[in-house]
Amino acid sequence: MKQFKKWFVFAMVLTLVMALLAGCGGDKKEKSGGSAIDKIKKRGKLVVGVKYDTNLFGYKDPKTGDITGLDIDIAKALAKKLLGDEKKIELKEVTSKTRIPMLNNGDIDMIIATMTISEERKKEVDFSDVYFKAGQSLLVKKGSPIKGVNDLKGKKVLAVKGSTSVVNIKEKAPDAEVLEFENYAEAFTALKAGKGDALTTDNSILYGMAAQDPNYELVGGTFTDEPYGIAIKKGDKKTVKYVNDFLKELKDSGELQKIKDKWIKE
């Protein structure tokens, strides 16, 4: 029975210690405000939130474990400018739903993840200048009767939680039934399984899906403007300026165009 008593005391002490540790940990994080740029330089590593499931922009290949895409190349170029080495980078998976909480949380320094600059989101985060211009479109199986956004009456349209395309499609096609998924890959799996008649999101992302599976095609052109920006924690003006200067350099040197040409063939 002594053993049991020991165990009990041990458990209580451990719980107390943990509670204390948790409290201290919280405090530390609170204090380290300030600009992301300073933090990154101090840490010697850039932590970026990217998509893992979006072909051409941010895609993790399960077979090799490599994460590649346009967003990734931009992140690497930024790491090179900031820290002199494009390998000094950590990529973390985000989805449209998790990315803003993760940025505000301090899990990531910035979001480079097919993120549209919108007035609503500007209330939550700060954006860099536009680095890519996309527009919302529709992906359907080849031979589908859907030719554009006006043919969606009574149809099931698949979209992704937390993306601007959900809000837009509800406006442009109010008679369509919208089904929302956790991420793009999940939504595309659902389309392939026949869970819906069309998938809607930015044309750039849809091109990536059509490239993966030639049985699917984009229809109806674009019906919104989706300018992509890099999201930075609200109020961090220093980092926003740094990133804007970086994007300008990238554009002026022709590097940005090279990255775009590498990924987007259409």
């Binding site: 049991f4 719980t15 474990g65 998976e93 956790e182």
Partner: protein, 243 residues
């Protein structure tokens, strides 16, 4: 269906990586929730004025909420009130919070099942309340709690899969990553393999629980009269089996 295309070495090692995260998160959460849950269960049982009531309300509230919602909270909502957690920490915190409440009930149920008569007997033979608890009630209750505790741990291991919603790179997350990125023909084979992995781990755990149960049963028969124990069991509130 394409089993050969599904079970490539790359895919398998990606699944294995997921499995390791599942096990890591599950083991840490099991240890933490066992400690916290036992503490809460004992404190609730002890009927300390106010404290036991507060714990009762907390435990009942958490037990009656979906774990998915609790995970959402630890990951998405806590940062809004100033508590910031990494994905793995948030998953462990959410699981620990929920499972501690479940374990607290198991522990309390186990203690209640021992019956008031024994406390009275202990007290009247000159032991203090704490002594009675240490030496008489707890050892018996602990034995009785082991089977439901093990099935709760199995639940916890299964529940780690709910952390897919906060992109924890665990087994099911990686399984979905594989089939979402590939041909539709590999969906079924990958899900099947994932199910088998979960089954093998949990089934061995449940066999372990059964072996323990059997051993405890013989202990009981060798102990005091079987009849009396049956009576005790009937009086007790059955220990709730969780999902």
């Amino acid at each position: 269906m394409d089993f050969i295309g599904a079970y490539t070495p790359g895919n398998l090692s990606y699944l294995l990586k997921g499995l390791l995260v599942t096990l890591e998160v599950a083991v840490i959460s099991i240890v933490l929730s066992f400690i916290i849950g036992s503490l809460l269960g004992v404190l609730r049982y002890a009927k300390i004025p106010l404290l036991s009531k507060v714990i009762a309300v907390l435990v009942e509230t958490i037990r009656n909420l979906p774990l998915l919602l609790i995970l959402f909270f630890t990951f998405f909502a806590l940062p809004e009130v100033g508590i910031k957690l990494e994905i793995v920490t948030a998953a462990i915190a959410g699981l620990t919070l929920f499972e501690s409440a479940m374990i607290a009930e198991i522990v309390r149920g186990g203690l209640v099942s021992i019956g008031k008569g024994q406390i009275e007997a202990g007290r009247s033979s000159g032991l203090s309340y704490t002594q009675t608890m240490w030496h008489i009630i707890l050892p018996q209750a602990l034995k009785r709690m082991i089977p439901p505790l093990v099935s709760q741990f199995i639940s916890l291991l299964k529940d780690t899969s709910l952390a897919v919603v906060i992109t924890l790179p665990e087994l099911l997350h990686n399984a979905r990553g594989i089939y979402n990125g590939g041909n539709y023909k590999i969906v079924f084979p990958i899900l099947l393999l994932t199910a088998i992995i979960y089954f093998l781990i949990n089934y061995s755990l449940s066999l372990l629980a059964r072996a323990l149960e059997k051993r405890l049963d013989t202990d009981r028969k060798q102990g005091t009269g079987l009849r009396k124990i049956r009576q005790n069991q009937k009086q007790s509130r059955p220990i709730p089996e969780s999902f």
